[in-house]
């Protein structure tokens, strides 16, 4: 719990001491990006996970989707969508949301194979998510389970950014206003019908580009520290 009061960089160094050799060690060995980096120079990974539920202790990751953002451009060439196989059946209530069937999940790769891919992708970069606690907590739980150490990464959370904007403008808002697909129209972003981890990651990346250019029309003022939410 003390970790919460430490900087991400200190958290990374503490975790590095605990972790044995392997993929998480490599990940934690990569220095974190400087907070004063301007947006143009940032390399951001927009990530979305589909899970069987909200509890990282008992629920499982079903799929991930990510896309890289650099020079304030969404690079679809650097995007990926991956299903993850799980042992138990997918609970019906979550299947309604992510639409992943047991058959599809069976074609996925095990979490042990997925995590090294994700960690290599994220090393030294910034993680962009909408409502970060799911991704942060599930990846953290996976790292602790597989590698015995926590997952540490600087995070930009578009939901938190949106809430701050509402609050700063003294606008009243409902929790529903903060949902990804309710925020996008405010920035004239199109309505995407398909939902999977990758299309949500792309939708989040576009939302971030829109919010960042809106908040900082002058690109030199657009710096990572203005966005870090965790």
């Amino acid at each position: 719990m003390l970790d919460r009061f430490l900087s991400k960089e200190s958290q990374r160094k503490r975790a590095l001491k605990k972790v044995g050799d392997g993929v998480l060690h490599d990940y934690l060995s990569t220095p974190m990006v400087n907070k004063n980096t301007v947006c143009e120079d940032l390399i951001i990974v927009s990530l979305d996970l589909e899970t069987t539920g909200l509890d990282p202790k008992k629920d499982k990751i079903l799929s991930y989707g990510f896309v890289e953002v650099s020079h304030m451009t969404v690079r679809l060439a650097h995007s990926s969508h991956q299903l993850i196989s799980i042992e138990e059946e997918i609970p019906e209530e979550s299947a309604v949301i992510h639409q992943i069937t047991d058959d599809q999940a069976a074609t996925g790769i095990p979490l042990e194979e997925a995590m090294p891919i994700l960690l290599r992708q994220l090393a030294g970069k910034v993680m962009l998510v909408h409502y970060a606690s799911i991704e942060q907590n599930f990846l953290d739980a996976a790292c602790r389970k597989l590698y015995g150490a926590p997952f540490v990464i600087p995070i930009i959370d578009t939901l938190v950014l949106a809430r701050r904007l509402f609050e700063r403008r003294n606008h009243t808002f409902q929790p529903g206003n903060l949902r990804l697909f309710n925020l996008r129209p405010q920035y004239n972003l199109p309505n995407y019908k398909a939902h999977n981890a990758l299309s949500d990651a792309v939708a989040t990346a576009e939302l971030f580009l829109a919010m960042a250019t809106d908040m900082f029309p002058n690109p030199s003022q657009c710096q990572l520290r203005r966005f870090i939410t965790q």
Binding site: M72, T73, V74, R75, P190, K193, V202, A205, A210
Partner: protein
């Protein structure tokens, strides 16, 4: 396999030019794109990019401006900006600005090139040449036209020619010719001298001029042949050939390609065609005995136009077919009037003006006509022509060709005059091109004889063209007049974009698309003294002179064909829905592809108008 980024794939798949790609290419396309976001009022293309890209608007709006900050184009959702990837920049835009928050899909020019190289139909959309783009536009209009029951109206004579022409040397004897005709079982033969057609002989000639007249079969065939031949070109419409036969009371017409004989068409050929055609309008018109009959035939003209448009006949041919029928109705009205009034006391010719004269009529436009009477006319003849003109104009009105709102009709005494007076009119108009004259120019500088002594008209036309040819001051006025109707810039969402950036909900396709080209062609024709009246023919003839380049001429012809076809389709749809046809089109009616083609056509007109502006500007003060 699951398709990643299906949202982006599907967005592209339903839009030209990407709809020309294969499923496999579409599946792979999203991964080759990047996405950028432009805040409202920021520069377009986005700053800080290196390299050249194609931009696709996913949402938002972008305005493109030229060096003088004039709006040249406005892109909305699905709009594509190709300038950076074109070898030749066909757009005049030099800068741009996002006028709304805009999400862009970005494709490198290299990716685009790979797709262009592997998919020819996709490649066609990116042609740098306006010539190719317009050819492409016209090609989209031409769907299969086989087994068209109305072919008689839009079909050309060459479609009826089956056998190679049977010819013989004009030096042959009558007997030799008769033997060949019997052997080949043909009813006529064309006679040649040094590969030139010099005469024709028919079964009837053999009977009447040889056997019945007691001429020896050993006499040369030239002694009984018809030497004064009327021929038709192979691209003549079947309906026009039929009219010529009826008018001249002949049953055979030699068919030519230039001055080379390519065949012979007979009344029997046409009759065989007739039996398969229910809508044999021209023949019905010729036979009509009363105005009521004519009016009821005429009532079917919009339906005919609808059917022609549905059978994807070209706009050029539809205009030709409808104008021919109006000619027939006019001629028949004159004949009916003369059955009661008797023959004219002195020679005269009935002239059509405006779109009928140009053979560009759509069904039931206003009537524009005039009467040109021989200078032999004496005051006591006035009453005859007054009555004739009144009956014909009233008849046309009853047939749906409503009275000309500007009163440019033969029933108006002003436009029912002798050759001498008409020459005086034109002299005044050409020497003092006042607004009134310019207003009348689209009617009276497009004149065509319909019935009577065509020679009278030829004399007038020679006089007119002699005065306009190379007449800098007059053509400068005509050119200025031709610049009054400007085409729109293009379309943006459900709006028509016009100069200065204003928006309209609809546009008048006649006045903003067709009239500008017609006006330009008229300037050329008068400046060069060309006798052609049809706009396409005028442009074709002008392109043979230094006044108009071949390429620009072809571009204008294709632009006209495309715009006129859009208009005819628009009207066909209205007629099909039981509403009166008009010229007001809304962008909602247009597909993305049609918008693109129309924009190209508009751009050709703009370019020509600018050239005209520069060329004739000084003329007025010379």
């Amino acid at each position: 396999m699951e398709i990643e980024l299906i949202e982006i794939r599907d967005f592209l798949a339903e839009r030209p030019p990407f709809d020309a790609l294969t499923e496999e290419q579409l599946d792979l396309l999203p991964k080759q794109l990047e996405i950028r976001y432009l805040r409202r009022n920021s520069a377009f293309p986005p700053e800080g990019t290196t390299g050249n890209y194609l931009y696709i608007l996913r949402s938002g709006a972008v305005e493109l401006l030229d060096d003088d900050e004039n709006l040249v184009e406005k892109l909305g959702e699905g709009g594509i900006y190709t300038t950076q990837c074109q070898l030749i920049d066909i757009s005049r835009a030099s800068q741009g600005v996002a006028t709304e928050d805009t999400l862009l899909y970005v494709m490198s020019c290299k990716t685009l090139q790979n797709l262009r190289d592997s998919e020819p139909s996709f490649n066609e959309h990116f042609s740098e040449s306006m010539r190719d783009r317009l050819k492409q536009a016209v090609k989209t209009l031409k769907v299969s036209n086989n087994n068209n029951p109305l072919e008689i109206l839009t079909g050309e004579i060459k479609g009826l020619l089956q056998k190679a022409p049977v010819t013989a040397d004009v030096e042959s004897s009558i007997r030799e010719i008769a033997l060949v005709m019997s052997a080949k079982n043909i009813s006529s033969m064309m006679l040649m001298k040094d590969e030139q057609l010099v005469g024709m002989i028919t079964d009837r000639d053999l009977r009447k001029r040889c056997v019945a007249a007691g001429v020896s079969p050993d006499a040369p065939v030239s002694s009984i042949m018809t030497a004064d031949l009327t021929t038709v070109q192979e691209d003549t419409l079947i309906i026009q050939a039929l009219m010529i036969m009826t008018k001249l009371r002949v049953h055979h017409l030699p068919v030519m390609r230039g001055d080379k004989v390519v065949g012979m068409v007979t009344a029997t050929d046409l009759a065989r065609h007739q039996s398969t055609n229910s809508a044999f309008f021209a023949a019905d018109i010729r036979k009509a005995e009363t105005l009521d009959t004519l009016a009821s035939i005429s009532e079917r003209l919009p339906e005919l136009q609808y059917q022609l448009a549905s059978s994807s006949a070209t706009a050029l041919h539809i205009g030709d077919a409808i104008s021919s029928l109006t000619d027939s109705i006019t001629s028949r009205l004159i004949e009916l009037a003369q059955m009661e009034l008797g023959p004219a006391p002195v020679p005269y010719v009935w002239l059509s003006g405006g779109s009928q004269a140009r053979r560009e009529q759509t069904s039931h436009s206003d009537q524009d006509n005039a009467l040109l009477i021989s200078d032999e006319m004496r005051p006591e003849h006035a009453a005859y022509f007054e009555e004739l003109a009144k009956r014909v104009c009233d008849g046309l009105n009853a047939c749906g060709y409503i009275y000309c709102p500007g009163d440019a009709m033969a029933m108006n005494p002003k436009w029912r005059q002798t050759l001498q007076i008409w020459k005086k009119y034109f002299n005044t108009w050409i020497n003092k091109p006042e607004p009134m004259a310019l207003m009348l120019s689209s009617i009276f500088f497009d004149l065509r004889p319909v019935h009577g002594e065509f020679e009278l008209f030829e004399e007038l036309q020679t006089e007119i063209l002699g005065k306009t040819r190379g007449n800098g001051i007059f053509t400068a006025y005509m050119a200025a007049n031709a610049l009054q109707h400007r085409p729109p810039l293009g379309f943006f969402r459900t709006f028509v974009l016009i100069h200065g950036g204003a928006h309209d909900d609809t546009f008048d396709i006649k006045h903003r698309g067709i009239v500008p080209i017609t006006d330009i062609a008229r300037v050329f024709a008068l400046d060069r003294g060309l006798t052609q009246v049809n706009t396409t023919n005028r442009l074709r003839a002008a392109a043979e002179t230094p006044i108009l380049s071949q390429e620009m001429g072809e571009n204008l012809i294709d632009a006209l064909e495309f715009i006129a076809s859009m208009r005819i389709n628009h009207q066909a749809e209205q007629i099909g829905n039981g509403i009166d046809a008009d010229n007001y089109m809304s962008p909602d009616e247009l597909s993305d592809l049609e918008r693109r083609h129309l924009r190209d056509a508009f751009r050709v007109i703009q370019d020509m108008q600018e050239t005209l502006e520069n060329r004739y500007q000084g003329g007025r003060f010379r």
